[in-house]
Symmetry: C2
Subunit: 198 residues, 2 copies
DNA sequence: TACATTTTACTTATTAGTAAGTATATTTGT
DNA sequence: ACAAATATACTTACTAATAAGTAAAATGTA
């Protein structure tokens, strides 16, 4: 794989998270990288094409994380914690996430991009649902709604939490993060390190 | 107030909610209205100016709603329900909300727009916090985190709930809506009409 | 007449995208 | 081993379309 291609993908993703899909151009990429806009088109013929590649890369990255956690025998608590850490990092960097960013622009996206975005969110929700489900069965989590609804709630809080934190105050995100844990922690289960690794 | 001006404001807001701030142009407005793009510039010299006006109109609308609820002696439950109804309506119309839409594009907005957006979100959070706070004191709600954190959580769920529902399935929003109520309903308080007016 | 409203007719800047060319490796035939 | 062909990674130099925005003239309307 070309290092230029990788760098374009990385930069474009950052631009989507910082300025939105319709808020950046190939010029933004080329000037930062010190190449010509045609060079970006060489790797990604269309912006749409670039967008699809970014989404596929993200799904792949997610699968790798899931696999990695299985290999390390992470329990459900640790798995959820790892997932949340991605968002904590984004918040530190004043970024939002792909779901929130592209969710706003969805009606301006090509069909291939919409499909890929849908696949990504589906995959995340399904994973989160199964983690919550089996975590509850083991008594690690407690909540009394369907696991998928709990997954939707948690993901919503994270996605918009980043957006709110960017509008109001960066520090507000950690309160939202905290509230998510409060919402699913069993009453007599102060096992793990108190503050959930914050 | 000019009817043309009102119509532009209305249409522009809808465009922001459907295509994002950077996803629409003055042409989108003028062609739909059957006027020329210069006519839009007559009322709103710059796009930024239009954006600020939309935000101010929204804050005003919000204040009117709050005042109206006070005049009608709504209790905290009814107040929260009314607020959530705005989001249920947006979901029915496949729209997201201004917070989610502009939260994505915030780094591309002018300073006046950013300030106005901040004011709007601040106002909503403060209102929501006070409703939750006094509702809890009356025993209408139950939660054991600071009221402002609960407000942030609820608003996050609503904002990103609309985005997720648009990506996945419209019907997913009502699960998120349901989960919000479950999260703050006291155990022995099945007073109001069961499904919280859904 | 005076004023508000709207169109005509632009400008300037930026956008995504392309066609054709160039330099440098890499492969292949002999 | 060496030249010829080919692929890779770009640049140069463009389009065609659309963006926001403006000045001035025309139109309506009180």
């Amino acid at each position: 794989m070309s290092v230029t291609r990788e760098k374009i993908l990385e930069l474009a993703e950052e631009l989507i998270l910082n300025k939105g899909y319709n808020g950046f151009s190939y010029q933004d990429i080329s000037t930062v990288m010190g190449i010509k806009n045609a060079a970006v088109h060489y790797y990604f013929p269309s912006k749409d094409n670039l967008g699809v590649s970014i989404l596929k890369t993200n799904v792949q990255r997610f699968e790798e994380m899931v696999e990695n956690m299985q290999n390390r025998n992470f329990d459900e608590w640790q798995q959820l914690e790892s997932f949340m850490k991605i968002y904590l990092k984004s918040n530190r960097e004043n970024k939002i996430c792909l779901i929130g960013s592209l969710g706003t622009d969805i009606n301006t996206l090509s069909n291939p991009m919409r499909v890929e975005l849908q696949k990504m969110v589906d995959r995340i929700i399904n994973w989160l649902t199964s983690v919550l489900q089996s975590g509850r069965e083991k008594g690690l989590f407690q909540f009394n709604i369907p696991a998928r609804d709990q997954a939707l709630s948690i993901l919503s809080s994270l996605v918009a939490g980043l957006q709110l934190a960017r509008i109001l105050n960066k520090s507000d995100f950690k309160n939202i993060h905290q509230s998510i844990w409060e919402g699913i922690t069993p009453p007599e289960n102060d096992n793990k390190s108190e503050g959930h690794g914050t």
